[in-house]
C-alpha cells in the first residue's frame, strides 16, 4: 500500500534538507563538541585530575626552567600535562583552554541571547507599528551603528563595572561577565533589528495579519501569535551567525585587557599571554589559536548550512 503523502512542517523540511548537507552535519558535530567541552569542563577536570587554578609549575620545580619557561621543549607537553605548562605561573594549559572556552562560550551565549531579544523586539515594534515609532527606532539604530564599536566596548567596560562595584572593591567574575554581556549587547542588536523590521514590513500586509486584526486581536497577540512564528527562521539563522562573532568580541575584550582578568581562565586572555611569551614558547599559543580557528570555521559553515536548509533559494 502506498504510503500516504503526509504534510511536513517547515521545521521537518528544514531538518530533512539539513541532514543531506554533509558539510553542515560535520560542522554541527564540531560545534556540538565544543559546547560539550564547555559544559562538561568540571567532569573533564575530574577525569584529567587537574584544574585550571593550581600552579603546577610552582609545586613541581622540574616543570619550569630558571627563566620560568616550560622545560623539555614543545611547551612542556607530557603525559601529565597534555597541552603543556603555562610559562611563568605554571598552570596546566589543557585545563586553561577547557575552562577558558567555558567562560567565553557561556558569556557569548548570554550576550547573543540578549542581542536577539532586543533586536527582535525593536525590529517587530518598528516594523509592525510603523510611522513615528518606526522612524525613531530607525534613527536609534542608525545612531548606534555610527558608534566606533570596538573602541566603545573597551571604553565603557570600566564604567559599566563601576556601576555595580565601588572602585575600591574587587570585582567578582560574575559581575565582570554581566558587564561584558551588557556592553556587547548594547551595540550588537542593530543588524538583527533591521532584518526583522524588513521582514515584518512585508508580513504586515499579508492577509492573515489583516484577518487577525479584523477579528479584533490585540497588537501584542498579533505580534506573538502571528508574526513571531514567521520570523523565527531569519532569527535562528542570524543567531548562528552572531554567536561566533560575539565569542570573538569577548576574546577581543580579554585580549585587550579589559574583559576577564586573572585568575579567571579565559580564551581571549590566553592570546594575550601567548603573544607576550611567543618568542620563548611558541607552542603555548598553538592550542587556543587552532581551537578558535576550528571553532569559528565550523560555526560559519554551520551558519551557511542552516540558512540553506531553511531557505534553499538563497544559494551561496
Amino acid at each position: 500500500m502506498a504510503k500516504q503523502a503526509a504534510g511536513l512542517s517547515p521545521g521537518q523540511l528544514m531538518w530533512r534538507r539539513f541532514k543531506r548537507d554533509r558539510t553542515g552535519v560535520i560542522s554541527a558535530c564540531i560545534v556540538l563538541f565544543f559546547f560539550a567541552v564547555a559544559i562538561l569542563a568540571p567532569v573533564i577536570s575530574m577525569l584529567y585530575g587537574k584544574d585550571a587554578y593550581t600552579l603546577y609549575g610552582q609545586d613541581n620545580l622540574d616543570l619550569l626552567d630558571e627563566f620560568n619557561m616550560p622545560t623539555g621543549g614543545a611547551g612542556g607537553i607530557s603525559a601529565d600535562h597534555w597541552f603543556g605548562i603555562e610559562p611563568n605561573l605554571g598552570r596546566d594549559v589543557f585545563m586553561q583552554l577547557v575552562y577558558g572556552m567555558r567562560t567565553s562560550i557561556y558569556t557569548a551565549l548570554a550576550a547573543t541571547v540578549l542581542m536577539v531579544v532586543i533586536g527582535v523586539f525593536m525590529g517587530l515594534v518598528g516594523g509592525y507599528f510603523g510611522g513615528k515609532i518606526d522612524y525613531w527606532v530607525g534613527r536609534l539604530t542608525d545612531f548606534l551603528l555610527g558608534f566606533p564599536s570596538q573602541l566603545f566596548f573597551i571604553a565603557s567596560m570600566p564604567v559599566v563595572v563601576a556601576a555595580f562595584v565601588r572602585p575600591d572593591e574587587e570585582t567578582p567574575t560574575t559581575l565582570r561577565a554581566i558587564a561584558i554581556i551588557i556592553v556587547l549587547s548594547f551595540l550588537g542588536w542593530m543588524g538583527l533589528s533591521r532584518l526583522i523590521r524588513a521582514e515584518t514590513l512585508t508580513l504586515r500586509e499579508r492577509e492573515f495579519i489583516e484577518a487577525a486584526r479584523i477579528s479584533g486581536a490585540s497588537p501584542s497577540r498579533i505580534i506573538r501569535k502571528e508574526l513571531m512564528p514567521n520570523i523565527i527562521t531569519p532569527v535562528l539563522v542570524q543567531a548562528t551567525l552572531l554567536l561566533p562573532s560575539t565569542i570573538l568580541s569577548v576574546a577581543f575584550l580579554s585580549f585587550v585587557g579589559v574583559g576577564f582578568v586573572e585568575p579567571t581562565p579565559d580564551w581571549g586572555r590566553m592570546f594575550a599571554i601567548g603573544a607576550d611569551i611567543y618568542e620563548q614558547d611558541p607552542v603555548y599559543m598553538l592550542f587556543p589559536g587552532v581551537a578558535m580557528v576550528v571553532f569559528v570555521v565550523a560555526f560559519n559553515l554551520l551558519g551557511d548550512s542552516v540558512r540553506d536548509a531553511f531557505d534553499p533559494k538563497s544559494g551561496r
Partner: protein, 325 residues
Amino acid sequence: MLRFLTRRTLGAVLTLFLISAVTYFMFFAIPQDPALLACGKNCTPDALKVIHTNLGLDQPVAVQFWHYMVGIFAGRDLPVGECAAPCFGISFDSGQPVWDTIIDRLPLTLSLSAGGLVVFLVVGLGLGMLAAWKKGTKVDKTVSSASLVLSSLQIYFLGPVVLGIFVYSTGWLDKPKYVPLTESFSGWFMGLLIPWLVMSVIFTAQYTRMSRSSMIEQLQEEHVKAARAKGMTSRFVFFRYAWRGSLIPIVTIIGMDMGALFGGAMVTELTFGLAGVGRLARDSVVLKDLPLTMGVLIFSAAFILLFNVIVDAAYAFIDPRVRLS
C-alpha cells in the same frame, strides 16, 4: 550632489554631537563619583579633592558638558594648566593636553589603517573578481575556501605566528616598528609590512566573498548581457561594465567597516607592540584616564564619520542614481 553631501555632513555632525553627549554623560554621570573611578584603589581624600576641582565636578553634568564642548573650539583654562584651542582636557596620567597626545600618536594609526585598507582592498577585490571570473572551477573553490579559513583567523593569533616564522626563526624581516614616512620611505614600508599583511587578513576574506557574489550578480544583469551580445570583448565588459556596478555595494560596506578597521588597528598595535591611538585608548582605559578616553573616543568617532561622508561622496560618484534621489 551638493545637497546630498551637505545633508550627509550635517547628519554626521549631529551624530558626532550625540555620541559625545552619550559618552560624556555615561562617563561622568553613571558612576556615583567619577573622581573615585579616576582615583583608583589607593585613593586618598586629598587626591580625590584635587580630581574633583580639576574636573569641575561641583557643577551640574550638563554645565560640565557645555564647558567641554566649548573648550573643544575655544580652548579652556583648566586648574591643571592651560589647554589650547582643540581642548579635550588634560590627561590625568601624563599631565599633557589630550589633543597633543592623540596627534602625536596619529601618524602611526593612520599609516597602519591606510596600508591595511589598501592591502585588503587590492587582494580582496582581486581574488573576488578572479573567483567570479572562474566561477565554478577549482580556482573559485580554492579562493572561496581559503577566504573562509582566513576570515576565521584572528590578528592576535596570526600576528605572533607570522612573527615567529619571518622574524624569530628565519630572520628575513625585522621586528615591526614605526618609522615616520617623512624620515624614510623604505623604513616606513618595511617596518609596517607585517602588521599590514596580518591586519588585512581579517577583512580580505570578507571582501573576497562580497566582491565575488556582487560580481556574479552584475554579470547576470541585462546591460552586461547586452554589451556581450553586441560583440564587446569579455574582458572589456568584465572590467568596464560589471566591475563598476559590483563596486556599489562594496563601497557602502567600506564605509560601515571604518569602525572595525580602527578596532583592527588597535589590536594590531597591541599585538606588535606599536604605540598608536588604539594603544593609547587601551592604556587610558586601563589607567582610568577619563579625559584621554573621552578624547580618543570622540576623535576616532569624528574620524570614522568623516570617512563615512567621503565614502558616501564616492558612492554618489560611482552610482548616478544616488545623486538623483
